[in-house]
Symmetry: C2
Subunit: 261 residues, 2 copies
């Protein structure tokens, strides 16, 4: 065992393309035992994780995320939505955690369209609450959350007081990449990236992801969290999404250029 999970017998050389669409594997415990632990940084005084936790109210969490979005964008909305109630209910070490410094994930990392910032924000907090990996602790929550994101029709959450009157059309991202998630929605809804409708869509996605993370963390705290999916490197022998054909078979749609002024 080295620094990544090894494939199980029979899973090796599995063709990427045959795996497209994802592989659910039941509810057996999927944490990979025997992986290395992370050594403490020299002279650290950091509060060791997992940090103390009190159950979150998903509805409250979603409302905070939606409210936060115009100033914090997607990553910070999710970080603030999860951290704010824990500051009130638990206090330290959440109180001194520099939540305001986690804005940079917006647009799939400063606009590069890679991993959706909502998942990056959730990853920060899940690994504080459940402890770090590799391939255990908060990473089990993150892996489930990526599946939830890619495979759900988003947004799942509807604000009681929406900032945009016309509700954003829901769409299934099919991928955790911001570019694909946002681009798919833009094409379906015919709204540009800088439109109020796109921003409201992403605010609602942030609220949806924050609420789902809260549900996972609540289950974790009660010992009821059951991962439904293996890690990607176990399935593919390489780091990967599940949508291989989009690039390797050229099935990506036409580039979106509509809707911007």
């Amino acid at each position: 065992m080295a620094d990544e999970a090894r494939p199980e017998a029979g899973m090796t050389r599995r063709c990427l393309l045959r795996c497209a669409g994802g592989v659910a594997v039941g509810t057996a415990a999927l944490a990979v035992a025997g992986g290395p632990s992370v050594l403490p940084v020299a002279q650290a005084k950091e509060s060791p994780t997992p940090w103390p936790y009190k159950k979150l109210d998903p509805a409250e969490v979603a409302a905070i995320a939606y409210e936060r979005y115009p100033s914090g964008l997607c990553m910070n909305s999710v970080v603030a939505a999860l951290i704010t109630p824990l500051r009130a209910s638990v206090g330290e070490p959440y109180a001194s955690f520099p939540a305001d410094a986690f804005v940079w994930g917006h647009g799939g990392v400063v606009g590069w369209g890679t991993m959706c910032g909502t998942i990056l924000g959730a990853s920060v907090v899940a690994n504080l609450v459940c402890g770090p990996g590799p391939l255990k602790g908060g990473e089990l929550v993150v892996n489930e959350l990526v599946h939830f994101y890619a495979e759900s029709v988003l947004p799942t959450w509807v604000p009681p007081k929406p900032r945009v009157a016309a509700p954003p059309l829901p769409a299934k991202p099919g991928s955790p990449l911001c570019h694909i998630s946002v681009g798919t929605w833009m094409k379906k809804a015919n709204h540009g990236f800088f439109s109020p409708e796109r921003k409201d869509r992403c605010a609602r996605v942030a609220a949806s992801v924050a609420a789902q993370t809260a549900r996972y963390l609540n289950d974790w705290s009660e010992g009821k969290f059951k991962p439904q999916h293996k890690f990607q490197t176990v399935l593919y022998d390489v780091t990967s999404q599940d949508n291989c054909a989009a690039c390797h078979r050229g099935e990506a749609p036409e580039a979106v250029t509509t809707g911007n002024p």
Copy 2:
């Protein structure tokens, strides 16, 4: 001005595919003025960023990252490489920052192959040192770092005492995505994902990215950091990489299935 940078006049409706390959824009100041600031989370006691900084030695930073890789993998290697010297030279608030909880970016976020974990780790620290965005502070450093990563022949750093005798072949990722960066290297080097050679390649990439981040932060601290690139949403009217044709024209190579046992 809303929650993302707006395109400049003449940049709107710019075809994604025509922009493939990236657009350098000289050294003019590229921070977008007038964007919203991030409101503090209620009842926070967090240390406001930017945090105090003392110049880092890129060679020391690279060595720490390489040493850290087997236990911390890519994201944590970069976080530890930058934070450890700052704990020694500055102390708080770096000392109590939970660096060990930032492992989850490995494999492009728990193996999903999205943004390379080295850039995620650098993003964490750059935004503590330079302050948060959107589209200012540490995000200017992150944007340059993504260009450095995608457009350089990596790894740039060679360990004085390598763990693997045969040096990994350098390769240009052409993308900040872990899947493309690692897959391109695996195909060129004919080594599998779980091979010692691939792990040593990623350890050297972590060291290369950590050292480059240290150089950028040193320049920032002396007022000499000059961004060379605009933000992606300004160029493309959507969040995006620069390698549009890989997916939209189906120019992605055959899936890599070689080299694993």
